[in-house]
């Protein structure tokens, strides 16, 4: 039976593994973290319907029954080609495969790179991922002092569409995530004032516009303007400065909590990993595909496929579709051998 190695045990890797196993291949997933599910498993609820993220992760995990197999806490250090097969090395061990799927996902943009936003310095400046963790733990956000915030600012496009931090691309999912989170905060703390500071609201998926409308109906304020800087006030609140570009007025306000909507960055180590296969990342640092319209899951290296957010920002729907597409492409490739 031919073997397929999948690097990355997020939803993309899990779903591709499931389909390939159903097609009769021996599939092994290599996941560098202790648990599968990638970033989705870290999230509390998903847009647009706010279902529990673990429902989705558990569905994909339910197929892990020996084939596909998964190695956790196993980071692949090197992939090398040996004739028609590949050798993957991790922790001094090696694994062979007839085809490889790279599904290494993404990293959250390191918010401290936007130095002027004060992440890592001011106590009440957090990331969207940390807000999800708060929802998981408490069901509502809390300030550093443990209080429920009464005024919250969501800052869109942190590490997205920003050439200053070498992230010129849109991360796609942050807008709708901010809208989702703002509704969740409003539901958890009805008295809270919420402000979303955005450049454009890119509600591209089904149900996203509905979510945006719901947020407005629930009293979330949307201000078109980028954050210029934050400062910490004596009482621990955060002073934010922006411009309301629709009314062309500078704006300054103090908030209890600032949530930075961090974008997607290329996963650490992926470009080094593919370099051994003579593959280069694309201009944004993600895995380069042959053709985004016709060949969206193939790389220039024969037998090496890719899917999910390691090719660029994706939502779960796109990642799962790419996973299934990759499974079919790998099947066709191995069938022709």
């Amino acid at each position: 039976m031919k073997e397929v190695a999948i690097i990355g045990g997020g939803v993309t890797g899990l779903e591709a593994a499931n389909k390939l196993a159903q097609l009769g291949y021996t599939v092994t997933i290599f996941e560098r973290e202790k648990t599968p599910g990638g970033h989705v498993a870290q999230w509390d609820r998903l847009f647009p319907n706010r279902r529990n993220s673990m429902e989705v992760v558990n569905e994909f995990k339910s197929h892990l029954n020996g084939n596909p197999a998964i190695f956790l806490s196993t980071a692949i250090d090197k992939i090398s080609r040996k004739g028609a097969r590949f050798t993957l090395e991790a922790k001094g061990k090696s694994f062979d495969a007839d085809a490889v799927l790279i599904a290494t996902g993404f990293e959250l943009f390191p918010a401290e790179k936007k130095e002027e936003y004060g992440y890592g310095i001011y106590d009440n400046v957090i990331t969207s991922a940390e807000l999800e963790a708060m929802f998981k733990e408490h069901g509502y956000p809390v300030t550093k002092s443990g209080k429920q915030p009464q005024r919250i600012a969501f800052i869109h496009c942190v590490g997205s569409r920003d050439e200053k931090v070498s992230r010129p691309y849109c991360s796609k999912v942050c807008c709708v995530t901010a809208v989702k989170q703002s509704i969740e905060v409003k539901e958890a703390i009805p008295s809270a004032e919420i402000y979303c500071l955005y450049m454009d609201l890119r509600m591209f998926g089904p149900g996203y516009e509905d979510l945006y409308k719901e947020a407005q109906q629930k009293g979330v304020n949307f201000l078109r303007g980028r954050l210029s800087e934050t400062s910490e006030l004596e009482d621990g609140r955060v002073l934010i400065k922006t411009e309301d570009t629709l009314s062309a007025k500078p704006l300054k306000m103090s908030v209890d909590l600032v949530v930075l909507m961090v974008g997607m960055s290329p996963a650490e180590g992926t470009s080094e990993l593919i370099a051994g296969l003579d593959l280069k990342p694309n201009k944004d640092g993600f895995v380069e595909i042959i053709d985004q319209h016709i060949n969206p899951v193939k790389t220039k290296a024969e037998g090496i496929f890719t899917a999910g957010a390691c090719t660029g920002p994706n939502n779960i729907t796109d990642s799962v579709n790419a996973a299934r597409s990759a499974a079919i492409e790998i099947h066709q490739y191995l069938s022709s051998k």
Partner: protein, 355 residues
């Protein structure tokens, strides 16, 4: 506030600062408005630290203010800068240390231009040769004089007579640090600590025993913004910018404002006086102003230099509140005496912030 977050950023913005043999370049306004800065700098470097600092009588200002106000074209300022570089090498120096932040920005901008557009450098060579017959080389090390004091902060602290500590309470003095825009906002990598949380003055203050205040309008303009002040009709913006800063720092009860830019020092010092005249409002404790000093003037105070011999009486906002808090020994009667002890008389026509 997580101090470790700042330290992490600081660690990413460190730069090479030469150890000795400095070619010193003056500002066009600094020594006129507050001569204590240059006096203290040269004395600290030469007498306290034993460094070789050369000041060439033939060097000129960078013409930066004229460049930024579009009076001097870019090709001209490049040639002026190249001439100063030529003088430095002719005198056997390669470490260029401008004392003005605007100049530091000019030099940094021009070196960066030459890096990206070598044809500009070649054109400047031609202009300089044609105008003066000189040839130039870029400095081996270009740093601002505040970088130099920062580098030697521990050596200075080891020889200090005083600390930035309230003599009565034993508490660290609260210090506002204000960096000139052209020090690191144009090129964050060229400033110690970067642009958002600069370390160059904060590191100095902490080493001398003080505590830096992080107040909301910390990054706001000092009031000098060239287009605010040089365009006469805009001067209301200038003083209102300064007022915004003072109002923002006031609740934190600062004992001192330390700057590394001649313009910042001038405007934060003088506008306090103007605001007191206009509105009867002062921003320090007990109706006093907040003393505004340059980094080397602060270093001079902690080293025990005589404040009046340094020239600190040239600051419009009185510095005595600071001297008293630190416990500096000084003679109030010497404030308006000339270099030979002659009585110069009190400045006339001025109402002082309470002293």
């Amino acid at each position: 506030m997580k101090k470790e977050g700042k330290k992490k950023i600081w660690s990413e913005y460190q730069k090479e600062i030469a150890d000795d043999k400095f070619y010193f370049v003056r500002s066009c306004i600094r020594q006129t408005f507050f001569p204590g800065s240059d006096t203290a700098y040269l004395k600290i470097l030469r007498d306290v630290l034993g460094k070789d600092v050369y000041e060439d009588p033939n060097h000129t200002t960078c013409t930066g203010i004229a460049y930024h106000t579009e009076v001097v074209p870019f090709s001209t300022i490049q040639t002026v800068v190249a001439r100063n570089f030529a003088l430095m090498r002719e005198n056997g120096y390669e470490n260029y240390t401008p004392s003005c932040v605007t100049s530091f920005g000019i030099y940094s901008e021009i070196l960066d231009t030459w890096h990206h557009f070598p044809e500009e450098k070649q054109r400047t060579r031609d202009y300089l040769r044609k105008a003066t017959g000189r040839e130039f080389e870029e400095p081996a090390n270009l740093v601002h004089t505040s970088d130099v004091i920062y580098k030697f902060r521990n050596e200075i602290a080891a020889k200090a007579k005083y600390r930035l500590v309230n003599k009565e309470t034993g508490e660290p003095l609260k210090v506002v640090d204000h960096i000139g825009c052209h020090y690191s906002k144009m090129f964050p990598s060229k400033g110690v600590g970067g642009a958002e949380y600069p370390q160059v003055l904060a590191g100095l203050v902490e080493t001398f025993g003080g505590e830096v205040i992080d107040y909301p309008e910390r990054r706001h303009c000092c009031g000098f913004g060239f287009r605010q002040y040089f365009v006469q009709a805009n001067r209301g913006y200038s003083i209102s910018a300064s007022k915004k800063k003072f109002a923002s720092m006031e609740p934190y009860k600062p004992d001192l404002i330390i700057t590394n830019c001649p313009g910042c020092n001038y405007f934060m010092d003088r506008w306090q006086y103007a605001l007191e005249e206009m509105e009867g409002k002062t921003y320090g404790a007990n109706g006093e102003g907040i003393p505004v000093l340059s980094y080397e003037e602060v270093a001079g105070i902690v080293l025990g230099f005589d404040p009046w011999k340094m020239g600190l009486q040239m600051h419009q906002t009185d510095i005595e509140p600071l001297l008293k808090k630190i416990g500096v020994e000084y003679n109030p009667d010497d404030k308006y005496k000339g270099p030979n002890g002659e009585d110069l008389g009190l400045p006339k026509g001025l109402k002082f912030i309470k002293d």
